[in-house]
């Protein structure tokens, strides 16, 4: 009994820190409609700095913590300045920018503090009531959190500045007409997020040592808490944080500590499902994708439509003949990643949703194919089952999550990513952390692929098929609905496109593609481990698509090729003698994080659309160019509109 109460109290304390992170998310979302992925980063950096201040510089308590929180605030303002820096950037682009910054911060954290967990003593002493022992730090956390929540509630509901900030979220255009500087308010909101996150981190580190990657769990937990109040309500975020903290603490106490992301995801999905049933999601947040997906087709010359693709296929099939063993592996990777990124490009470009967990769907496909073929299924059937399982899983998650208008999928997929790796490492039947080995080769009947070159051809064939399937999908009638979706959800809905269903279908398709690639990967490698499907890999997919260009098919191909090659270079650099073991990681985080941010700010539509636009400008081919005659009274952020209605 006393154990249960102790779990409850520590659960409430941890829940309070999640609620603080969550309230930071709410503050940013209320004012800017941006979901801030870097919410957990503020906590981690604040905690790290406090640890250094206490243990290395021997500063007194109080001062050290204040320094930590101040750095959190500064970081919040910095992230806000970058995420809101470019006028007219959509909330979804800003979301990806915060994600990129969070990842780039990993590199800094690793370089400055290494990869060991950091902690420091908090308030010493325990409160003893009978047989009950409660750490004073827990009580401190609960007290501080309640005081802060009272403070921010008063700020938003009772002060003029707080109301001005709310007005920005409510109606940015009107706010600007009243003379409210919407972007400065957004910046303050980010600063507030940094402050709250910093406080959470400084309070949490004494009871939960932190590593550089703790931010993911904090951000997911904070997000799950904030979802209780639909990212708008502070009191519900507090309640959500406490529910979540208690649930996590009970699961960790009675089952397994590594399941905390599963609890967060389960809570998140449950709340969203409940909200969907209640149909309480009334906020008309319409997050536009960064670029309306480029239309295919148009009247292009015959050679562009037929000869060029044929030449491309022939070249792609011929390339393996000229490659040695190690280059063949790179080539196979490229093809498999291309399959995944094409799916992600469809999802991001057309459904306007972000998946930060595509590697998880790849893992589901890989494990499905591996397990089935290890249990005696013919490889072909196992291979075909993989995308089906991945797609169904995605649909199951997508139905509640995609009902919400705001971009909740990004966090949900990130939670799936963490959950899956945790689950796979903990379930003996799935091989635990050593994974599955001696997976048979792919084959049909008695014919088997024996060589790398064979796998290269299989991969390239699958990639080509996927490419054509996707191309036809975009050009078809459902594809037209998808393009409508990319331009305006409300408009699409008004002409009878069932927006939610289409989003779920696109999400499932993208997951199925990832599953397919995972299956080939499993056959090709012969052994798979949970670590092979890390968050970093999901991030790479995201970078590939964004660099290449959303909603195009050429974009992901170019992005994938560039990134796979870049990856080789980074690996070679990072594994130079004398480098610390985590150096390759540092380089990847820094380069990928910064790439995301720079590309989104400098080329918001990706490289392929940018350069094809330049190409047209240089050579004077005005194909499907935006109308240059006056279109007065058009919406503020007019993108080149395409008239693709029936």
């Amino acid at each position: 009994m006393s154990l249960l109460i102790e779990y409850l109290v520590s659960g409430i304390a941890i829940g309070c820190t999640l609620a603080l992170v969550g309230s930071g998310l709410v503050a940013v979302f209320r004012v800017t409609r941006v979901i801030n992925f870097a919410a957990g980063t503020f906590s981690v950096v604040a905690a790290f700095l406090t640890a250094s201040a206490l243990q290395t510089w021997h500063l007194p308590h109080g001062l050290a913590e204040a320094m930590g929180v101040a750095v959190g605030l500064g970081l919040g303002l910095g992230v806000g300045a970058v995420a809101l820096g470019r006028r007219g950037l959509s909330p979804i682009s800003a979301l990806v920018i915060t994600f990129g910054l969070a990842i780039a911060c990993y590199a800094g954290e690793l370089l400055l503090w290494g990869d060991l967990p950091q902690s420091y003593p908090g308030v010493p002493g325990t409160l003893t009531v009978g047989k009950l022992f409660i750490q004073d730090q827990n009580l401190l956390i609960i007290g501080v959190t309640l005081a802060i929540f009272a403070g921010i509630w008063l700020f938003f509901n009772r002060t003029y500045l707080g109301k001005g900030m709310t007005a920005c979220a409510d109606n940015p255009m009107a706010a600007e007409m009243m003379g409210i500087d919407v972007r400065r308010m957004g910046l303050w909101a980010f600063g507030m997020g940094g402050l709250l996150g910093g406080i959470a981190g400084v309070l949490l580190a004494p009871i939960q040592p932190m590593t550089f990657s703790s931010d993911v769990n904090l951000a997911i937990g904070g997000f799950a808490a904030a979802v209780f109040g639909n990212l708008m309500s502070l009191d519900l975020a507090l309640l959500g944080g406490i529910v979540l903290g208690v649930a996590e603490s009970l699961v960790a106490g009675y089952f397994q500590a590594s399941y905390e992301s599963i609890v967060a995801l389960a809570v998140m999905i449950a709340v969203m499902t409940w909200r969907a049933i209640q149909r309480r999601d009334q906020s008309d947040v319409e997050d536009r994708p960064p670029a309306p997906a480029a239309a295919t087709g148009g009247a292009r010359a015959l050679w562009v439509r037929v000869a060029l693709p044929l030449f491309g296929i022939a070249a792609a099939l011929a390339i393996p003949l000229g490659l040695n063993q190690s280059n063949l592996t790179v080539y196979i990777t490229m093809c498999l990643y291309a399959v995944i990124t094409i799916g992600l490009s469809l999802l991001m470009g057309f459904a306007g949703q972000i998946s930060a967990g595509q590697a998880a769907f790849m893992a589901i496909g890989a494990y499905t194919a591996a397990l089935l073929s290890l249990h005696g299924w013919p490889p072909l059937l196992a291979f075909l089952a993989a995308p089906v399982v991945s797609g169904l899983f995605a649909a199951l998650i997508g139905i509640p999550v995609l009902r919400m208008r705001a971009n909740y999928l990004a966090f949900a997929t990130m939670a799936i990513q963490l959950m899956l790796v945790a689950l796979l490492s903990n379930i003996p039947a799935l091989g635990g952390s050593t994974g599955l080995v001696s997976i048979p080769n792919f084959g049909i009947g008695s014919w088997q692929i024996q060589s790398l070159r064979g796998y290269a051809w299989l991969s390239v064939a699958v990639a080509v098929i996927i490419l054509f399937l996707s191309r036809n999908l975009i050009a078809s009638r459902p594809g037209r609905a998808l393009r409508a979706l990319a331009t305006s959800e409300v408009a699409a809905e008004s002409v009878g496109v069932h927006v939610m269903r289409f989003k779920v279908v696109v999400f499932a398709i993208s997951a199925a593609y990832a599953g397919l690639a995972g299956a080939i990967y499993a056959f090709f490698m012969g052994a798979i481990t949970p670590d092979g499907f890390s968050l970093l890999l999901s991030l790479e997919f995201l970078v590939m698509v964004i660099v290449g260009g959303l909603g195009t098919l050429a974009g992901p191909l170019v992005g994938t090729a560039l990134l796979v090659i870049l990856n080789q270079v980074l690996n070679t650099l990072g594994t130079q003698p004398g480098m610390p073991a985590y150096m390759p990681e540092v380089l990847s985080y820094a380069v990928y994080g910064c790439t995301l941010v720079v590309v989104l700010i400098a080329f918001p539509h990706g490289l392929v659309p940018f350069f094809s636009g330049q190409f047209r400008r240089w050579f004077g081919r005005q194909q499907q160019a935006p109308t240059a005659k006056p279109v007065p009274g058009a919406p503020v952020d007019v993108e080149p509109q395409r008239q693709s209605w029936g």
Partner: protein, 226 residues
């Protein structure tokens, strides 16, 4: 000195030119209307005056305070009526915002001060929007589509109240209207905008007698005006 001076204003959306060399002036206390067909650039001009859009070329000078009633009301729908009104005084940061003045003009708003603005009817919302614009104690009131979607009786009431305020203060009005009959009946001077350019200007009486204007806006082909 003119209260509002717009010179050679060019505003673009990407490559599309929405306003092309617009010139416009409003003197203190003057009643001016800007009329034109859909897509002529009227709302673009309002947004540029309010600083929401940035001109590519040209200048907007407001010698005094301006209050804006945006097209479609654009209230802060999650906030209360009173909060909406108070935020109208953001620019002046007044310690004693003239809430009572607005409640005097639109008495029915007082009883719904704490209701969420999004739950009000269209006419009430327009009153809040006008009231909100008046909170900044403006010398120029810019109203974009006053009558759009409102019952004639509501429009009449709002027009009467604005007229009443004008009797006490030297408030100038720039009215952007689709209902040209209303605009011409109320205002002294008018600008006609088409395709992002001012194509005619002058006293409303004189303009109404020009056959082309009469055709386009006051009957003739029908369409723009009822």
């Amino acid at each position: 000195m003119a209260l509002l001076e717009v010179r050679d204003l060019v505003v673009q959306y990407g490559q599309a030119v929405a306003l092309d060399g617009v010139r416009l002036e409003v003197q203190p206390g003057e009643l001016v209307t800007l009329v034109g067909p859909n897509g002529a650039g009227k709302t673009t001009l309002v947004k540029t005056l309010a600083g929401v859009l940035r001109p590519v070329r040209g200048t907007v000078q407001i010698h005094g305070r301006a209050g804006f009633v945006p097209e479609g009301r654009q209230l802060f729908s999650e906030l209360s009526v009173e909060d909406n009104l108070l935020l109208g005084a953001w620019r002046v940061r007044s310690h004693r915002p003239p809430l009572d003045l607005v409640y005097e003009i639109f008495p029915q708003l007082r009883s719904m001060a704490h209701r969420r603005a999004g739950t009000l009817s269209g006419g009430q919302q327009q009153m809040v929007a006008v009231g909100r614009a008046l909170m900044g104690d403006p010398q120029l009131l810019v109203v974009d589509e006053l009558s759009l979607g409102l019952a004639p009786v509501v429009v009449k009431e709002i027009v009467q109240q604005i007229t009443r305020i004008r009797e006490k203060t030297n408030l100038a009005l720039l009215l952007i209207e689709q209902n040209v009959r209303l605009a011409f009946a109320w205002c002294e001077r008018a600008y006609v905008i088409e395709g992002g350019r001012i194509v005619a200007e002058g006293a409303t009486k004189a303009l109404a007698e020009q056959p082309a204007i009469y055709e386009a806006f006051l009957g003739g082909r029908g369409g723009a005006a009822q």
